[in-house]
Amino acid sequence: MSAARVVASEFTRRLSGDMRQWIAADVAVTLRQPPSEEQRGEIDDLARQGIQETESLETYTMASSDQAADPVLISIKSVDPRRYPWYGRVELDPALPLGEALQPDTAVVSRTLAERLSVVPGNRILIDGVDFRVAALIAGEPDRFAAAPNAYPRVMLSGDAFDRSQIARQGNSISWRLLFRIGAGHDTTGLKARFQQVFPDAQVVDYRDRGDPRAAAALNAAVTYLDMAAWNALVLGSLGVAMVIYLHIEQRLDTVAVMKVLGGRWSQILVVYLLEIGGLSLAGCAIGAVLAIPLERIFLLLSRGQSLFPVAIEWRWSQAGEAVGLGMLASLMATAMPLAAVRAAPPLLLLRRHVQRPAGRWRIGLLSLLGLVVLAGWMVHSWKAGAAYLFGKAAGALILLAAGSGLVRVMRRAARYWKIQGPMNLGRPGLHGETRFLALAVGIMGVTAAWLAPAAVIHAIEQSLPLPGADLFVFGFGPDQKGPLIDLLRRNPDVKQPVELLPLIVLRLAKVAGVPAPASAPERWAATCSSAAPSAPLSAGRWWQPGAAAPEAVMSESLAAMLGVKVGQTVEFLSSGRALPARIVGLRRMDAIEEQRGGLVFPCTAFAGLSVSYGAGISVRNGRADAVRRAISGSFPSIAVISRRELAAAIESVASDAIWSLREITLLILIAGTGILILMVLAEEKTRTREIAILKALGARPSQVRNGMLAEFAFLGALAGSSGGVMGSLFASLLLSVIFRKLAPAWDARVLLGATALGVATGVAAGWASILRTVRQKPFTVLRNE
């Protein structure tokens, strides 16, 4: 759990603290058109004051190779390798300096693109029909997620190479990112205000903020998730530690009883155990914190550079200290219950190995729970989120506990009619059937939820792809290309008519009801339009009226709530340097993904004279998607064409890059859970050792002992694994439904099977480890050692 905490802290630190790397600059200004002469003059003026600038162009187009049949839609970025990036590093494979790799006739490409086009460094590819040599593969790119079209396989070119490709002249939608390094002695706040004045239409982000509150919310959600995952590991760890200590103390009952008989005060006994447990915890936590570094390295190796953070973890004393401290605190809190159980028991009962449950156990349990809430709240920086998460987990754990108790009762009854050994052991008093079931099931619940959540995010995005029913998407084309493209599609017999268009503009919020927009408002908005008022239901107001005197629009309900906009109020936007006032006439409930695509819907007449880019969804006859794509690419080589399947794969690819990092935490939780279960069973070893020796003395064959025990552990693992899998799926569904504001079921039969298999494997591994030695020993040797 210490390792999970260190990794999560490092991720959190980078997510929230290393914004310079995320934007590769101190301030990044994103424009939808090239800077004007006047703006260039301002940049030159800033340069004279020591503020350095570099320009990065980002767009998408098609790439192909001789080795692959179909072209691939790519995200392309041109940079000046002498200056870019100001912060962070572009990692290449083979390791070359960026300046050496980026020549006028070369490109560096992502591993995904190399695989899709079947090329390796040294091979040639065509970008927009122009020939380039692949110099290297991109293993790490600091500001990848700051770029606008970041979902597709990546290509990086030098400015000269970009000019040679002539992509800019095709009318594609291009983002100009101006990256500034401010240097010491300059006032970032003042400079940012100046940038906003000079570039009124642009998005301006500096390293201290996240510019767009939606991006900030996404980052906060990621940080919270990571912290919760670490807390998850902590709770799992505490549970395991509590079990181990309970069993450890149970096995030392004779010693405790003798100490009590000889007049040992409870405080003396407590000190002995606290020192022992404290020492062990300290050693364990310290080893865990140190192990985080090699674990992270191994993981980076496995992720083949796809991890969100392509740099290995650095050792930080404060981070390690925090992880060790948290681990110690959780361990000591977890010891409260078992130590209290022993405190209440008279020595004679202890000598008979019969520990009564203490009268005030609920008080102690509640205190431990509260302690965990405080820890969770502190770790996720939100008491509300911590408590909600904890109680969600606690509810799951309670259901599992009830299931465990039911299982024990059933087994106890079934033992009257079935064999004594094997699964029936779960119902035996003193063999902790409920606790073992609970520990394993809660562990698997956490692992399943953590595993399913990212996959369910991808699924939810795929489900929300625009233009349902379309087989091909064409996008990023301007009004000039719209007519000829529609004409081409109309003449193609494989295309089903009509072709659906999705116009899109980017807006910047200026005023709400005549008052300047609040600082918390999103800076950049995506808006779409519809020729006729759609029939979709609204939660308030009405759709716009045809021929209204002033532009009218329908807004997403949650955005309206964020801005405090009411139906009937006017909101003023800026787009393409022009003011666009709109009266909000209706509110619509949108899920988070719909809102991201276009939180505002205008009548298309409002877009006249604005810089509109278009997307289109094309339905084609069965099996003709590739032919239609080739026809479009042949006539419009720069227009991006992608199939629904490829779009989903692209989304998955970018999501999986981030997911790799989250799955690392999941993996650590899994390791923690499995390790703890094995420890728990090993702690039970002494009880089972005596049992095995007696069984052998009574004539049990080693295979009988082994099979009986393994059947017990496999049965426990299967039940706990499947129950934990179901609860984890429910938990992930609930979590995502809240995040996406729509039902997002996280349900996958393969994951449930996997959870069951994991439960069985863990149970059997733990059981095997606990009996292996004893089964081979002579009964007398075992009993003598007691």
């Binding site: 008979r352 064999k419 004594i420 003193g430 004539g699 009993l783």
Partner: protein, 258 residues
């Protein structure tokens, strides 16, 4: 010597073979039985290496115990009595020497063969009872039958045995809910479950009061007298040893008289 005739067929008729399921162990009269050496021990040694010391517990024991005999092993603490008994039962392995049960060297048996032998032919009673704490009294008695693969009628037989040893009505109690004497009686019922021809008892009355100890001994003697089981008993009590057919005295790992 008194006549001791228990026809094998009669005992088998009750569903319980006299000296076990193996006819080789059966003999017709006590005299006949005493002429056959059921347990033979040859030059048996046992040493334990504690890491810093080597302790020689048994230093070369030669012993023969005929079928149906009641032998008491005596000696001071640390003389090797319990170790000798454990080796006879195959619960431990000797450093050197041989233990032969009915002529068969148990050192040459595989683990599975040894388990079969222990289950069918040896009933072992520990001083510390060693009941499985997570099983009820009835389940503890049922356990050897289940391990031997005997299906059907086990629960009735377990209750009958519990009744015979005087703990009827406590069949669904866990060991922790029974007194020491009751636990030892349950341990005896468990040892008798498969009618083993050899009963080995390691100070079975050591933890019990005189009256309870006597009752436990009676149960063991009944198995020896009525069912012809060979009984080897480790004890410190003179009175108990006086009831035996033979007294074997150990000192410092050697037999000093028998």
């Amino acid at each position: 010597m008194e006549s001791f005739a228990i026809p094998v067929s009669r005992a088998r008729g009750t569903g319980a073979p006299v000296f076990g399921s193996d006819a080789d162990f059966a003999c017709q009269t006590r005299a006949e039985c005493h002429n056959t050496s059921l347990i033979q021990i040859r030059d048996l040694t046992k040493s334990i290496d504690t890491g810093s010391h080597r302790v020689d517990i048994l230093k070369g024991i030669d012993l023969e115990i005929p079928t149906g005999q009641f032998a008491a092993i005596m000696g001071p603490s640390g003389s090797g009595k319990s170790t000798l008994l454990g080796l006879m039962a195959g619960l431990d392995s000797p450093t050197s020497g041989q233990v032969l049960l009915d002529g068969q060297d148990i050192g040459r048996l595989s683990e599975d063969e040894m388990a079969l032998l222990r289950g069918r032919k040896i009933g072992f009673v520990f001083q510390s009872y060693y009941l499985i704490p997570t099983l009820t009294a009835e389940e503890n008695v049922l356990l050897p039958m289940e391990l031997a693969g005997q299906d059907g009628g086990g629960r009735e037989r377990a209750r009958e045995l519990l009744g015979r040893v005087g703990v009827e009505g406590r069949h669904d109690h866990y060991p922790v809910e029974l007194s020491g004497g009751e636990q030892q009686r349950v341990a005896l019922a468990r040892a008798f479950a498969l009618h083993p021809p050899i009963l080995l008892a390691d100070e079975p009355t050591g933890n019990l009061d005189t009256a309870t100890g006597r009752a436990v001994l009676e149960l063991l003697l009944a198995q020896n007298r009525e069912h012809g089981a060979t009984l080897v008993l480790v004890t410190h009590e003179e009175s108990l040893a006086n009831s035996a057919d033979r007294r074997i005295v150990l000192r410092d790992g050697l037999v000093v008289s028998q």
